[in-house]
Symmetry: C2
Subunit: 475 residues, 2 copies
């Protein structure tokens, strides 16, 4: 929070260090000795599980309305024969309700709220510096970091996660994918505030354009959840990654956040009913967030695929069609136009379009422009990574990004989806892929890891559009 | 070939440059003027398609027994209404057979034979230098490169590819994945030497331990292919990636190497019948090659999964079970042993094993050793990338690699599969992942991109074992 430049007072409470100071913040011996001049909005509790009820009592007396309970060691450790954790949680709820305290957790990472500069992440730059100095993050001197407040850039994505690790990983990865959050919530054991409370909030949050969730289980009645989802998807897309699909996964879920996962078929039919975009893993979730943030909903499944080699063309086509898109042919007129500047040998002017190793960056950009005018394509997939058109051809990545970012008119309604596999194993190629990814969204395109990822995301986005359309006609 | 230090004479033929010299090699005005002192073994032909028959005539008169035809512009450009390319190919075969010349191609990249230092790739170092100097590869001064002959390191993998681009990509990627080839063949249009000729050769090639193929279509009778595969899989694993599965993919295949792809169901039943390991794309092929090269065939599907966070544990479990492995529980004894040195809070001692952020590198290695002694596990998947145990904990990657590489006894028959996602978007993290991957095979483990990739490869390897076992009983 210091690295995020949290602007309000932070009070540290630990009787062992009373009077001492850490990073400029003073330690108090108890909650009651915190000065009264500023009301305390939030308590972050990180003490052993056994003494948490007494801490809740303390903050209740102080009048603190919210507690984020980082502490773990509750129902997530219970077995069939031992429900100690569950009992402790019930005790917590009892004490909290006496004072009207709302609890987030326990066993969770808390909240990221960039506008308030409340966070549980260090900025990427701070961590890079720590890595460079081979130090723990918390022992790094933060002075001199250029963009300390980097993580406090507010974005349009709300992320609700039942896993603190995944909330953390998403917070980190999003920085290199080029998007940021309105808010992130790590739910933990949900003994009080739960998934549905936050979904309700994000539904009406004007700062949130897209809601993404990692869910292991639902604590409340499923029908309430479904009703709320139906209201929410009418206003903004909702992406759900459901963890713990398989039998052992259930076990893992049980010890992770103390609940039991439901049958996946139920989730699939829920998604059909509510328009929720269901994804299978973390990277599919980030793909989908980027897709919803960047593109209009595709009007059709028709896509044109461009590739720099015949093998990639065949592979891409299989991956595109495996994931539900279709590949109409180019018009006769366009084929003739392209033939005027592309030599026929080793270039295939059907769909996929394949240009051997000989096509230039300028020609590729020109062809993307031309494809954008063909009505049978709602999307265009550039299946070869940027380095193929940049390295060794005297081109700069900058020119390539500018070129493709201007290739389709902003109001075309079409999606230019790029693949940036990072499969180039040279350091330079990887750096180029990283830069390409981090600059993608701000230039109006997504850089996907694979053609499969691009096609899958496009198909799911189209399906959400179909859901909305059907709904318009039936309601 | 210069960068690979090809040891024998190379004669350049092009009447335009007669008497001039390139990279130290002399130009001749025709094949007939090449001096007779050394017999010429191979002609590499890269002239326009129309004049190729006359060139074959010329090399026939010279007595050259083999031609690699790089030239394209043959049947791969034919349409339903125009079979010019096919006719030209027939003419080539007619002329070649007059002189007993065997042809590879046309429309292909040729052969890599590391022991003979015959190659169509530059070494990684040469290309890195070219990239650094922002030059075309062929204008780079090759002096001063330390390991010029890098690509000529002979390995144990034979790769037959119907796509030159994929042969090239595989040659490049293998260098950073830590394996090399006995031979690589790019097939092209297969007007003479074909897939079956090379498969026949590799079956009995003592330098080849594993055969991998990228296939778009079969030119000869399918039964011949099946018979040969059955003979081959008895001696060594055969991995096939079949491109052009879907309808448009068929189209792409047609223009790529001038053939029509078969129905995929036929390929699947062929795989069941022959023990061929079928994969779906390029990266699955490289995963499988690494798996076959590195590990014994797993005895059972039982696997133990280790993870550094609860979310990753749930995700990994879903991916492991989705791909056919099973996750038995740990024994009571082992659980108790581990409990002696791992604090119970935030660590789940079922399977998957999850240690929060607090487990040390030493403990992880110790736990891998202990898991290796449990009979219910044939494989162990370390689902978290190496940087989680190395960065910020004062550990070195070197110690980590040494630790895990010694964790299982060499004759244990068990697989330690590591995940190195490269999802860490810091330059340092990526460098660490690259180094981890490139050093993996030589240290007895594979570094997979994802848990799914590890599980899928392990399952396929097990299935090949089952095939061999069944065969032993039925023959």
């Amino acid at each position: 929070m210091k690295s995020a430049q949290f602007p309000n007072p932070i009070y540290l409470v630990n009787p062992k260090y009373t009077g001492e100071d850490l990073l400029g913040y003073k330690f108090y011996d108890s909650v009651s000795s915190i000065p009264d001049e500023t009301p305390v909005d939030l308590a972050i509790i990180a003490v052993p599980a056994q003494i948490t009820p007494s801490i809740i009592e303390e903050i209740g007396k102080k009048g603190v309305p919210f507690a984020h309970m980082f502490s773990s060691g509750f129902s997530e450790l219970d077995s069939e024969f031992d429900k100690k954790g569950k009992k402790l949680e019930e005790e917590l709820v009892r004490v909290a309700s006496k004072y009207g305290i709302r609890i987030l957790g326990p066993n969770c990472m808390g909240v990221i709220a960039p506008k308030s500069r409340l966070t549980f992440l260090m900025s990427m730059k701070a961590i890079q510096k720590a890595n460079a100095e081979n130090k723990e993050n918390d022992s790094v001197n933060l002075e001199g970091l250029e963009k300390l407040g980097e993580l406090t850039d507010a974005g349009q994505v709300a992320f609700i996660s039942q896993s603190g690790g995944i909330a953390f990983a998403h917070g980190m990865l999003s920085q290199s994918l080029g998007y940021s959050f309105s808010k992130v919530v790590s739910l933990g054991n949900q003994i009080d505030l739960d998934l549905i409370d936050f979904l309700q909030y994000f539904k009406d949050d004007p700062e949130t354009k897209i809601i993404a969730m990692y869910i292991e289980n639902i604590k409340r009645d499923g029908n309430e959840f479904v009703r709320l989802l139906i209201e929410t998807t009418a206003k903004k897309p909702v992406i759900i990654w459901k963890g713990g699909i398989f039998q052992t996964g259930h076990q893992a879920v049980m010890s992770h956040t103390g609940g039991l996962a439901g049958n996946y078929k139920i989730w699939e039919s829920m998604a059909r009913q509510t328009g929720v975009i269901l994804v299978n893993n973390f990277l599919e979730l980030t793909d989908m967030v980027q897709t919803c943030l960047t593109y209009p909903i595709p009007q059709t499944l028709g896509t044109a695929v461009l590739s720099m080699s015949g093998g990639t063309a065949v592979e891409s086509t299989d991956e595109v069609e495996r994931n539900g898109l279709i590949m109409p042919l180019l018009s006769q007129e366009l084929t003739q136009k392209i033939n005027q500047f592309i030599p026929e040998i080793n270039s295939n002017l059907k769909n996929p379009l394949e240009f051997g190793g000989k096509n230039s960056m300028e020609h590729t950009i020109k062809i993307i422009e031309m494809l954008g005018e063909e009505p049978q394509f709602s999307s265009i997939i550039m299946a070869s990574s940027p380095e193929y058109l940049v390295f060794g051809r005297g081109n700069s990545l900058d020119d390539y990004i500018k070129g493709i970012s201007n290739a389709l008119p902003p109001n075309s309604g079409k999606l230019l989806m790029c693949v940036s596999s990072g499969m180039n194993m040279f350091e330079q190629g990887i750096k180029m892929n990283l830069e390409f990814r981090s600059r993608s969204l701000s230039n109006g395109f997504v850089a996907y890891r694979s053609t499969a990822a691009a096609a899958k995301s496009c198909y799911r986005w189209w399906k959400y559009g179909k859901y909305l359309e059907k709904r318009k006609f039936t309601s």
